[in-house]
């Protein structure tokens, strides 16, 4: 067995050396984001508002110590960017924050013109994320992997219009949507660079709509391809790993690699051009590393200890060979899911994910 590595080394080797070298063990990151509020000493609502850097940092540091995972992403919730662009956001005390869909910022197609360039430095929650990355970098930046997080412009804008109307606008009035996306892309680009410079080892770009679950391949490419390329190029240039997250079904791996060259993709389902995880590894396993794909609901939240162990074992058997794999849930670990189950995922990695 290779010498024991720090979590950060494990993640770095696991992602970047795929096909060439392997770490001591498969890195494990059960995508603990909102769930860390339970270590922070404040309510989920307070945690989500982004006003208490110290408690946020405590939540992540204590969860790392108690659960034993190797890294995490700085996702607060998906409404961070939309809120800063002007969308009203609701902060329930016990649920995930979300846009007020009864009061969308973009009420008619003409309102796309209301999207203006913003400065994240003068913002609320976007600045909070960067401040937390700085603080966490000082605490655990040399030992654990920390990924920043940017929700892509398509996803962000859809939150400000309401997804249903937004998807129809893409077909009915693209000329009104595109300028708004371009403004957002510039802001998100600046924001991603700031996260990398603040100490994030990687920055996640969430491109949810690049999958068969939502948009056709040409439609996704038309609206998000160039913007995502700009952001991902900047992340790479800033010296961070490019990470994508997409929990849709049938992800367009050919296109996200073409436009966004990810070092790692966090995903719940296989690419659109394969039928199984075995095939996925064979086709895409060298092109990029995979992080996944424990189902957050049925397994991480509702699974018995035996079911969790079996799922992790099965995933490791398929994907750990030759590296390029991070054992994780396919999407965010339920903020309300039993934390003991996250420990079970780490234990399963310790049992079945050691490289000989």
């Amino acid at each position: 067995m290779a010498k024991e590595m720090s979590s950060l080394e494990r993640v770095a080797v696991g992602i970047t050396q795929r096909g060439k070298s392997v770490p001591d063990m498969v890195p494990v990151c059960p995508v603990l984001c909102g769930a860390t509020h339970r270590f922070s000493g404040i309510s989920y609502g307070e945690w989500s508002r982004g006003i208490d850097v110290d408690s946020f940092v405590k939540g992540h540091v204590d969860s790392l110590n108690m659960i034993g995972h190797d890294g995490f992403a700085m996702l607060v919730d998906l409404s961070v960017e939309a809120g800063e662009f002007g969308q009203e956001v609701i902060f329930p005390e016990m649920d995930t924050a979300h846009p007020n869909y009864d009061n969308p910022f973009i009420k008619t197609p003409d309102d796309y013109a209301k999207i203006k360039k913003i400065d994240w430095r003068k913002s609320g929650r976007m600045k909070f994320v960067v401040d937390c990355i700085k603080a966490l970098s000082a605490e655990i930046g040399k030992t654990h992997a920390m990924m920043g997080f940017v929700y892509g412009s398509l996803g962000t804008l859809s939150m400000m219009r309401g997804p249903e109307k937004f998807f129809m606008d893409l077909v009915e009035c693209p000329e009104k949507v595109i300028p708004a996306l371009q403004i957002m892309d510039e802001v998100l680009n600046d924001y991603a660079i700031a996260q990398a410079e603040a100490g994030a080892h990687g920055v996640v770009y969430d491109n949810l709509y690049a999958s068969e679950s939502i948009l056709s391949k040409p439609l996704w490419e038309k609206f998000e391809g160039k913007g995502m390329k700009m952001v991902c190029d900047s992340i790479q240039k800033a010296g961070s790993l490019v990470v994508h997250h997409n929990c849709g079904n049938g992800i367009y791996f050919d296109k996200i690699i073409e436009w966004g060259h990810p070092d790692l993709v966090s995903h719940a389902y296989v690419a659109d051009d394969v039928d199984s995880w075995e095939e996925h590894k064979k086709k895409w396993g060298l092109a990029t590393a995979t992080m996944g794909w424990i189902p957050p609901g049925p397994v991480a939240m509702l699974g018995t200890p035996e079911e969790i162990e079996e799922e992790c074992k099965a995933e490791l058997e398929i994907y750990m060979k030759d590296g390029g794999y991070v054992l994780a849930t396919g999407c965010e670990y339920g903020p309300n899911a039993p934390l003991r189950n996250a420990v079970r995922i780490v234990e399963a990695r310790n049992k079945y994910g050691v490289y000989a």
């Binding site: 649920d95 995930t96 068969e212 609901g297 509702l302 339920g334």
Partner: protein
Amino acid sequence: MAKSEKELIAALQDAVIHYKVEEARKLANEAVASGADAYKMTMEGLAGGMEVVSEKFDSHEYFVPETLLCAKALYAALDILKPHIKAKAGDKKGQVVLGVMQGDVHDLGKNLIKAIFESAGWIVHDLGRDVPLKKFVDEQLRTDSDIVMLSAMMTTSMVGMKKLIPMIKEKNPNVKIMIGGSPVSEKTVDEYGADSTADNAPNALREAMAMLDALRKGLAKA
């Protein structure tokens, strides 16, 4: 020259399939003005068109935006035809109560389900999103619906199903419950005591039709 009923049906189908909203509206007005059977226009024209849309969705020729636009064309025509549909004796449609769980505002999937079900002639009682648990129970009792459909996109809202399903079944053991949304799986169905799940709107309709059939056969035997 006025279109025949057959031509109107074909044109309505085409308007839905190719999401021509204005054309669908115009054709519906034309059908009403010509005295065509509004029920036939709806079922064979609009629902017939939506059936093709479902096939295109299944085969990944259409995605969410296209399907939503087809539904928009369908509703444009349906709003005009609906007041002219005469109820037929013995023509009992399935009824469904539909809503997004309390604490959850993701209603895209729910809205697609509504469009597909309404186009197939079902009566849909749409409670919207972020629906308090008791409202599902009350609406099922008020409408005597055959099926209650619960949608959740987050684990935080999904857990409400565990509490809600026994509440519904306690009041009406015969009602069928279908659950859906990204964190939901067959395991959730078993764990929470639901009857079924489906991964997209066309499959939900197929499941619902099978459940309705089973329900009515069961009632006929009783």
